[in-house]
C-alpha cells in the first residue's frame, strides 16, 4: 500500500459502498452513502493537498510497466476538479437529505455516476476514459427519465443516441490513434506524436475525438442534448445540479487534456476560441427565449461553457487560469441555482417563471441562495464570477475583445433579470412551504462560497492552481460602474425589447430539431473541424500555458 493507492480508493469507494450496503433499509442506506461521500471528500482534499505541495501522483494499475498498464494520475489540473466533484456531490446529497425521491436505486445510480465522473478526471488512458464516459452516459440517461413523466423518455432517448453517435466517433478515432502510436496512454502518446514527421496522419483521429469531446462540452451546434438533460422536468434537482456542475466540466477537462497531447502537431485554438464565442452568444439568446426556469438555467450553462472554452483557448496565461477558475465558480453558482430551482418547482408546482412570485417571502433561505447565485453568474462585484470573468477578459485584447465580453455579460444579465422576477412580488396563491434545515444550510453554504470566491479571488486561484495573478483591477470603481451600466441596459432591454417580441420568443422556444437534423449537425461539425485542421491546423511552436502532461 503506497500513497498512490488513494487514487483507486477515491474512484472505487462510492460505487463499492453503494453496492455493498445495498441490503440496508432505505434510511440507513442514505446515511451510509452520506458517510461514504464525506470520506471521499476527505480523501480528495488530502490528495489535493499532497498534489499541490509535491507534484503529480500516479498509479500504475496491477504493477504493469508504463505504457502497458492503465494509469491513474492526479496532477495540478485534475486534483482540484476531483476535489470539486467530491465536495459537490456531498453537498447535493446533504441538500436532499429529506427529499422524497431518494430511494435506494436512485442513490445507487447517483453514487455510480459520481465514481465514473471522478474516474474520468483521474484516468490517464484514453480507452479507460471512453469506457467511463459511456458508463456515465448510461446512468445519466436513466436518471433523466427517473420519474418517467411527460416527454422525459423522449429526452433521455435523444440524449443517449446523440451521445452514442459521438462516442462511436471517438472509438474510431481511438482506433486510428492506436494504429499510429500503438498506445492509448496519454503521456506516452504525447511523446510518440511529437516525434511524427508530419501532422497529416493525426488530423483525422484528432477531428474524430474532438467532435466527441465538443459534444460533451456542449459546443455550438452540438449542445441541443444539454437543455434536455439538465432541464428535464422529470429529473430531480440534485441530478440537474450534478450534471451542470460537474458532468459537463468533464468535456472541458478532456478538451484541455487532449489538445495538449496533440499540441506538438496540431493547433485548433482559433477554431475553439471562435466556437466558444458563438456558443456563448447562442446560449444566452436561447436562454432569453425560455419560460421554464430550469431551461433558462440549462441554456445558461451552454453560454457559460462557451465562456470557459474561450478563456482556455485565448492563448494568455491569465485567461487560461480564469477559464479554470470559472469551471469551479460555475459549478458553485449553477449547482446552487439548479438546487434552489428544483426546490422552488416542487414547492410551487409550477415551472414557468411567469407563474412563480415571491420566493424571497415564502422561502427566505432559498431566495438568498438564488440571489447569491445570480450575482455570481452575472459577475457582480464582490462575487466569484467577477474575478474569473475579469481574468478571461484580461486575455481579450482590443476593442472587439472588450465588445465581445460586454455582449456576453449583457446577455447573461438580461436573462437573469428575467429569472429574478420569481424572487419578488407576492405569491399568487397560498404556498405551503415546508421548512427544511438541510436545504437552507446547503443553499446558504453554496451562496457563501460564491461570496468568498469573490472576496478572496486572488488567493483562491493561487491555492487551487498555483499562479499568483494580480486582481487589483477586478474591483475598481470603473468595473463597478460597468456592472451597474450593464444592469441598467439589461433592465431597459428587458422591458422595452424582450417583453414586446413574445411571438418571436415562442417560435424559437417551440422549434425542435429532429434526431436526423441533429446528426447532420454533428457530421457538419466534424467536416468543418476536419477542413479547418487541414487548412490552418498545423501550427509551429505550441504555447504551453500550464503543463498538463498527464
Amino acid at each position: 500500500m503506497t500513497f498512490s493507492s488513494i487514487l483507486y480508493l477515491i474512484i472505487l469507494l462510492p460505487v463499492t459502498c453503494a453496492a455493498v450496503a445495498y441490503f440496508l433499509p432505505q434510511k440507513r442506506y442514505h446515511q451510509c452513502m452520506i458517510l461514504a461521500n464525506l470520506l471521499v471528500t476527505a480523501l480528495s482534499i488530502w490528495l489535493f493537498y499532497v498534489v499541490r505541495g509535491g507534484g503529480a501522483i500516479e498509479h500504475l494499475m496491477a504493477g504493469w510497466p508504463e505504457g502497458i498498464a492503465i494509469r491513474l494520475v492526479a496532477d495540478r489540473l485534475s486534483a482540484p476538479l476531483v476535489m470539486l466533484g467530491a465536495i459537490f456531490c456531498t453537498g447535493t446529497l446533504l441538500f436532499s437529505t429529506r427529499a422524497h425521491y431518494l430511494d435506494k436505486t436512485f442513490l445507487f445510480l447517483f453514487m455510480s455516476l459520481e465514481a465514473s465522473l471522478l474516474g474520468i478526471f483521474l484516468s490517464a488512458d484514453l480507452f479507460n476514459i471512453y469506457v467511463l464516459i459511456e458508463l456515465s452516459m448510461l446512468i445519466i440517461a436513466i436518471l433523466i427519465m427517473y420519474k418517467q413523466d411527460k416527454q422525459s423518455v423522449y429526452d433521455a432517448m435523444l440524449y443517449l443516441m446523440m451521445n452514442f453517435i459521438a462516442m462511436a466517433f471517438m472509438l474510431l478515432g481511438l482506433g486510428f490513434i492506436y494504429r499510429i502510436t500503438g498506445l492509448l496512454d496519454l503521456h506516452m502518446m504525447q511523446e510518440r506524436i511529437a516525434t511524427l514527421e508530419s501532422p497529416q496522419s493525426v488530423i483525422l483521429p484528432y477531428a474524430m475525438i474532438m467532435t466527441a469531446i465538443a459534444l460533451k462540452a456542449a459546443m455550438f451546434p452540438l449542445f441541443s442534448w444539454l437543455p434536455r438533460a439538465h432541464g428535464a422536468p422529470s429529473a430531480p434537482a440534485i441530478v440537474s445540479a450534478v450534471l451542470s456542475g460537474v458532468q459537463v466540466k468533464t468535456g472541458v477537462y478532456l478538451l484541455i487534456r487532449v489538445s495538449h497531447v496533440f499540441a506538438s502537431q496540431l493547433d485548433a485554438t482559433t477554431f475553439f476560441l471562435t466556437l466558444g464565442f458563438i456558443t456563448s452568444v447562442v446560449g444566452f439568446l436561447l436562454a432569453i427565449c425560455q419560460k421554464d426556469i430550469k431551461l433558462i438555467l440549462a441554456y445558461h450553462t451552454v453560454s457559460q461553457m462557451g465562456l470557459i472554452v474561450m478563456g482556455i483557448n485565448l492563448g494568455s496565461e491569465t485567461a487560461f487560469y480564469g477559464g479554470l477558475y470559472h469551471i469551479i465558480n460555475h459549478a458553485l453558482f449553477k449547482g446552487l441555482l439548479f438546487l434552489t430551482a428544483g426546490t422552488i418547482i416542487e414547492t410551487y408546482h409550477r415551472r414557468s417563471y411567469a407563474e412563480i412570485r415571491g420566493v424571497m417571502r415564502t422561502m427566505p433561505a432559498i431566495g438568498i441562495g438564488t440571489l447569491a447565485g445570480m450575482l455570481g453568474i452575472t459577475g457582480a462585484p464582490f462575487f466569484n464570477g467577477s474575478i474569473s470573468k475579469y481574468f478571461i477578459s484580461d486575455g481579450l485584447q482590443g476593442d472587439w475583445g472588450g465588445l465581445a465580453m460586454f455582449a456576453i455579460n449583457l446577455g447573461t444579465t438580461l436573462s437573469f433579470v428575467k429569472y429574478s422576477a420569481i424572487l419578488f412580488g407576492k405569491p399568487t396563491r397560498k404556498i405551503d412551504c415546508p421548512r427544511d434545515p438541510w436545504v437552507a444550510a446547503v443553499s446558504l453554504g453554496f451562496g457563501f462560497a460564491c461570496l468568498c470566491g469573490g472576496l478572496f479571488g486572488g488567493f483562491a486561484v493561487y491555492a487551487l492552481f498555483g499562479p499568483n495573478l494580480p486582481i487589483a483591477g477586478a474591483l475598481t470603481l470603473q468595473k463597478i460602474l460597468g456592472f451597474a451600466l450593464t444592469l441598467g441596459i439589461a433592465l431597459l432591454a428587458y422591458f422595452y425589447v424582450v417583453n414586446r417580441i413574445g411571438t418571436v420568443l415562442t417560435n424559437v422556444r417551440t422549434n425542435r430539431f429532429t434526431f436526423n437534423q441533429l446528426t447532420v449537425m454533428l457530421t457538419l461539425f466534424f467536416v468543418i473541424l476536419l477542413s479547418f485542421l487541414w487548412l490552418y491546423g498545423t501550427a509551429g511552436e505550441p504555447a504551453i500555458l500550464m503543463d498538463v502532461t498527464p
Binding site: 459511456e134 423518455v153 443517449l160 462511436a168 472509438l171 492506436y178 494504429r179 417551440t510
Partner: protein, 117 residues
C-alpha cells in the same frame, strides 16, 4: 475490378461506419436509426480490432506461439466496447418501446411534433 482485391477489412470497416452515419442522418424510422447507430459502433469496433493484425495472425489464446499471435490489446479492449455497445442499444430499444406506446408513432418527425411543448 482489380482494386477490390486491395480493399482490406479495415477499409470496409470505415465504409461501414459512414454507412451507419448516413443511415442515422437520413432514416426517419426510429428503429432504423437505432440500427444505423449500432452499425456505426460495429464499424468502429471492427476497425479497432483489425489494428496490428498480421496476415496469418492467430487468436491470442494461450498456446499460440508469440510470433504469429495477433496483438491482444485491441482484442481485449474491443470485447469491452462490444459489451457497452450491446447495452446501449438494448437501452435505446427499451426507451423506443416506451416512446412508441406513449406517442403511437415510429417516425422521428411525427414524434417531434407530438412531444409536449
Amino acid at each position: 475490378m482489380a482494386f477490390i482485391n486491395t480493399i482490406g477489412i479495415s477499409e470496409l470497416a470505415i465504409a461501414l461506419f459512414f454507412i451507419g452515419l448516413f443511415g442515422a442522418m437520413t432514416q426517419r424510422n426510429i428503429m432504423k436509426t437505432i440500427m444505423s447507430v449500432g452499425i456505426m459502433d460495429m464499424g468502429a469496433i471492427l476497425y479497432f480490432a483489425m489494428s496490428n493484425l498480421p496476415e496469418q495472425a492467430r487468436p491470442p489464446i494461450s498456446g499460440t506461439p508469440v510470433d504469429v499471435m495477433a496483438d491482444p490489446v485491441p482484442q481485449a479492449l474491443m470485447i469491452t466496447a462490444i459489451v457497452i455497445g450491446v447495452s446501449v442499444i438494448a437501452m435505446c430499444l427499451a426507451m423506443y418501446m416506451r416512446v412508441a406506446y406513449r406517442y403511437r408513432t415510429a417516425e422521428w418527425n411525427i414524434l417531434c411534433s407530438r412531444v409536449e411543448k
